[in-house]
Symmetry: C2
Subunit: 252 residues, 2 copies
């Protein structure tokens, strides 16, 4: 019998959600250990023992401590028996292409999405000043990444990345990345995503393929979205903040 995996996660983190969903969908025996980022628990001495890089997600499995969500997904798909091959195919060429998409994600989709969200909605929530110039730059990276997703990575026979007919760890990882855009103002999210029809369909297909776990793990995000919306209406009604605070990135 395999030892139980400890998954250190905050569900507000998109790569943490990807790892949790993967474990659930594949019936991996794991314990979810909350590392509350808002309480700065990732900086605690206890968590430092698990991951000296002080980031979530991280896992502990037997003597192995591992960080970086892609490496974790690859490990789980390889080390556990009975994980369906489509998640991380054993065929060396197919696996290579999945690795390639995952590597591409770092400096493209992740870079764009994270920086856009941080410099628009999340900034004020974290008490940081809005940075419309950084948001504009991030949107450029994000839109270019979405275009490549639509025209290159999703340009195959099946509904998933690289023409797959079933999802791989890359589908899960990239879709979770994009899901963070849920917290944006609706019109910003639509402006950014709506030109990419295949991408929108692919998000739905990945959601369907991994439900009910996908929705459960994203509940915290939907709650955050609601909170941000209420805050925006409050600001719009009472005018307690400078008018460019939430509309700054519309200047692009």
């Amino acid at each position: 019998m395999m030892e139980k995996v400890k998954v250190y996660a905050d569900r507000m983190s998109q790569p943490a959600r990807a790892v949790l969903i993967f474990c659930r969908v594949n019936g991996i025996d794991f314990e979810e250990i909350k590392v509350d980022l808002s309480k700065r628990q990732h900086l605690s001495p206890e968590f430092r023992e698990v991951n000296p890089l002080q980031k979530v997600p991280a896992i502990a499995h037997g003597t192995l401590n591992l960080s970086e969500s892609h490496a974790i997904l690859v490990y789980l798909a390889s080390a556990f028996p009975g994980i369906a091959d489509h998640w991380y195919p054993t065929d060396v060429s197919r696996r290579a292409k999945i690795n390639s998409v995952l590597d591409w994600q770092h400096s493209n989709l992740r870079h764009g999405a994270v920086n856009y969200v941080v410099n628009t909605v999340l900034g004020p929530a974290l008490g940081r000043p809005l940075n419309p110039k950084a948001a504009a730059e991030a949107e450029k990276v994000l839109s270019s990444s979405l275009s490549k997703l639509e025209h290159i990575w999703l340009n195959g026979d099946g509904p998933f990345l690289l023409g797959g007919f079933q999802p791989s760890i890359a589908d899960l990882s990239l879709v979770c990345e994009l899901m963070q855009l849920e917290v944006l103002d609706e019109k910003d999210r639509n402006r950014i995503l709506s030109p990419y029809k295949k991408v929108l369909r692919w998000i739905e297909d990945t959601r369907t393929a991994t439900n009910p776990h996908f929705e459960e793990m994203h509940n915290v995000l939907y709650r955050a979205k609601k909170k941000f919306q209420q805050e925006r209406s409050r600001v719009a009604k009472t005018g307690t903040e400078p008018s460019n605070k939430l509309g700054g990135h519309s200047k692009m």
Copy 2:
């Protein structure tokens, strides 16, 4: 017999150098096809057929076209017979740790090193304005990454990453990343690197373990370094450029 690999590369690109050195060291039968970035050959329709993302390095092997240097190194180490196990160990935990370092490289060491070089030495060479603020931010990321290399990733028994006694693809990839700092002004390079004694030793150990190929593939960089130095002395002597142009990032 394995089919010959086509490696599309410009030796001025650090991930391209990593792939070329790996092929040479491991006796992989390959053909190097130059994609001259300075002539914008990566944007040509011919290269687009090989890599629609229009970046080097890329490889073509049989029916497989592959981009992203990490995915390429993993593929070469897995698909070719006779590659020594230390490059990409078959042990699932050891392999997981190597994947983790490679993933970490993207948003940390690569992000810091590339942005620092582009916003100091390379900017003017490419006809772009210097950006001391961006250089300062990049140096922060770079220094933090070097500290993690020194105290976490190189904190093992052997001289290589994760305590290895022989190099892995992660050693090669990360050392090639750092080698681009060669083109910096000597005092900047020393200021940034000299606090990290293990890192400095590890660069030398990786160089030694992969020579003479390591030096051969870096010759183009040493020539570029000389050119930048000459340009700096010319500027210093003739004062043809604003005095903050090369010293801008000392403001941090």
